[in-house]
């Protein structure tokens, strides 16, 4: 049953490769860990969602894999404003 049409449209690869970071929406995450499991460089994305903190790690490739895989639309890409802070 692979054909899940959840939230992938939220962030295309081009979009996530722009300057920005992954932000968890509040009250949605159920800590399944699919995001962390699929992060190509091993960032514990789920941890950020538990703490309600954006993934601001310098290593994050913003590849969008976690956004695409999350079955519950927890993760979103947020662009950074040029002068700091998030939009």
């Amino acid at each position: 049953m692979g054909k899940s049409d959840s939230f992938p449209k939220v962030a295309s690869r081009q979009e996530v490769l722009a300057a920005g970071h992954i932000v968890p929406a509040e009250g949605r995450c159920i800590q399944c860990g699919i995001c962390s499991f699929n992060c190509p460089i091993g960032i514990d994305v789920r941890r950020h969602a538990w703490l309600g903190e954006p993934v601001v790690e310098a290593h994050c490739l913003t590849c969008g894999e976690c956004v695409r895989r999350c079955p519950r639309g927890v993760l979103h890409f947020e662009q950074l404003k040029i002068f700091g802070g998030s939009s």
Partner: protein
């Protein structure tokens, strides 16, 4: 030094411990649990079953987290609560005295009430041990029967199908999950299930499990049909674990009744999570839920109140996002439902509030597998279901949770001369400008 005892190491219990430690650094906190696997993501069990994550992914707390929390663990089952003496008995493990105690004992899957239900190969999905057993059974099984309804029955169906087990899903009525879905939505899900090779049996009631040498071999239906199977997976509902509470004289209905401070009717005893019954302002009812985030928030609020730091738990409109036969579905607030013979109570990941029919007008929009259902009240949106395309998932969650006044668009909504989705999305953007950066496209 204050002594706190928490029964249960699920998300409600652990969140309570966190809150206590944050407000009372010197506190002595004891966590009691009979689950040898401790604290893990229960909703994640469904993805472990489907093979999307390995088991080790389920544990979210690392050693350092436990060190920081600085709690004492006692393994074993709490057998008796004596609130007058502030004492909790643990059977062979002894007894504990407390100043404040939290019951965060969760809910348990309702057992199948038919002959043969105790045969080896009859399975439920409550704990990690259950999930591990299901995975082992699925490895040997060629065909399985699933009975029940709601989200868990499909997680079982899909998880087993993903493990190449041939699945027969029995429905007592003529459609899937009438308690929450309307007929169109049921059909969309059923259609996908059939496409995925699941054998759906409508109007079919299981009356007996047949065994061979102590193991499940087949099931018999009311009509006398025999369906051979090596595994029977059951999800007919959950019930709060009320034994301790009832015997200690706490006020209970379907759950332990708590006030806004998460306090029970008995001094110094609190309750939170799946075992608690809380007031829902949207429906005006005390409701049961089996939802991870409310359990977390309730546990945290309970913990703060236990330390004397008064805080109110505000119940938000019930919300979950789940996957039904590969279709993502967001369910929020109150939708009203029909009679559902597949479930004796709510299953996992659900809320009683969803089934409530409030005074409102229901509107629909369907395109292919994408469906939007809205319940429009006098001034606010009361409920919504978003199936397939999830563009409106967050907007509707926010509009309903914030009880945003929809007067500016209400007439237009009811006239329905503009597509519902556009109207809602634009209105959300206008009323929730902070979040606009989240959306792309």
């Amino acid at each position: 030094m204050n002594r706190y005892v928490i029964v249960g190491t699920g998300v409600a219990g652990v969140s309570a411990a966190q809150a206590i430690r944050a407000t009372d650094p010197a506190a002595e906190i004891t966590l009691v649990s009979e689950d040898p696997h401790g604290f893990y993501s229960r909703p994640g069990l469904a993805y472990y079953l489907s093979g999307e994550i390995p088991d080790k992914q389920l544990w979210l707390y690392a050693k350092e987290d436990w060190q920081r929390l600085n709690v004492r663990f006692v393994a074993g089952r709490a057998t008796r609560l004596l609130p007058g003496e502030h004492r909790l008995e643990l059977g062979p493990a002894g007894a504990l005295t407390y100043d404040r105690l939290l019951l965060a004992v969760g809910a348990k899957a309702v057992r199948l009430p038919v002959p043969g239900a105790d045969l080896d190969g009859v399975a439920y999905l409550d704990t990690f041990e259950d999930a591990r057993r299901l995975v082992a059974l699925a490895r040997r099984a060629r065909s399985a029967v699933v009975v029940g309804g709601g989200i868990t029955s499909l997680e079982l169906t899909e998880g087993l199908a993903a493990r190449k087990v041939r699945v027969h899903y029995l429905l007592r009525g003529d459609r899937y999950w009438p308690a929450v879905l309307d007929e169109t939505e049921s059909r969309l899900v059923e259609h996908r299930l059939v496409e995925d090779g699941v054998h759906l049996h409508y109007n079919t009631e299981l009356v007996e499990v047949l065994g061979r040498r102590g193991r499940v071999a087949a099931i018999r239906t009311e009509k006398g049909e025999i369906i051979p199977c090596d595994l029977l997976a059951v999800a007919i509902g959950t019930r709060a674990r009320l034994e301790l509470a009832q015997q200690a004289g706490l006020e209970t209905q379907r759950g332990i009744l708590v006030n806004e401070q998460m306090a029970s009717s008995v001094p110094d005893v609190f309750a939170a999570g799946d075992c608690a019954q809380v007031f829902d302002p949207l429906t005006g009812q005390w409701v049961m839920e089996t939802l991870w985030n409310p359990a977390r928030w309730q546990g945290y609020a309970a913990g703060l109140n236990m330390t004397g730091y008064e805080t109110k738990y505000h119940h938000r409109p019930s919300f979950n996002v789940t996957r039904l036969a590969g279709l993502t579905v967001t369910i929020i607030g109150s939708l009203g439902g029909s009679r559902d013979d597949d479930l004796l109570t709510i299953a996992r990941g659900e809320s009683e509030a969803w089934r409530f029919g409030l005074e409102g007008v229901t509107l629909y929009q369907t395109a292919d597998v994408n469906r939007l259902r809205l319940v429009v009240g006098q001034k606010t949106l009361l409920g919504a279901l978003v199936m397939g395309d999830q563009t409106l998932s967050i907007p509707l969650q926010e509009l309903i949770t914030d009880q945003t006044d929809i007067t500016p668009i209400r007439e237009q909504l009811l006239r329905a001369d503009v597509p519902l989705d556009k109207l809602i999305f634009n209105f959300w953007q206008a009323t929730h400008p902070r979040q606009r950066g989240d959306q792309h496209g």
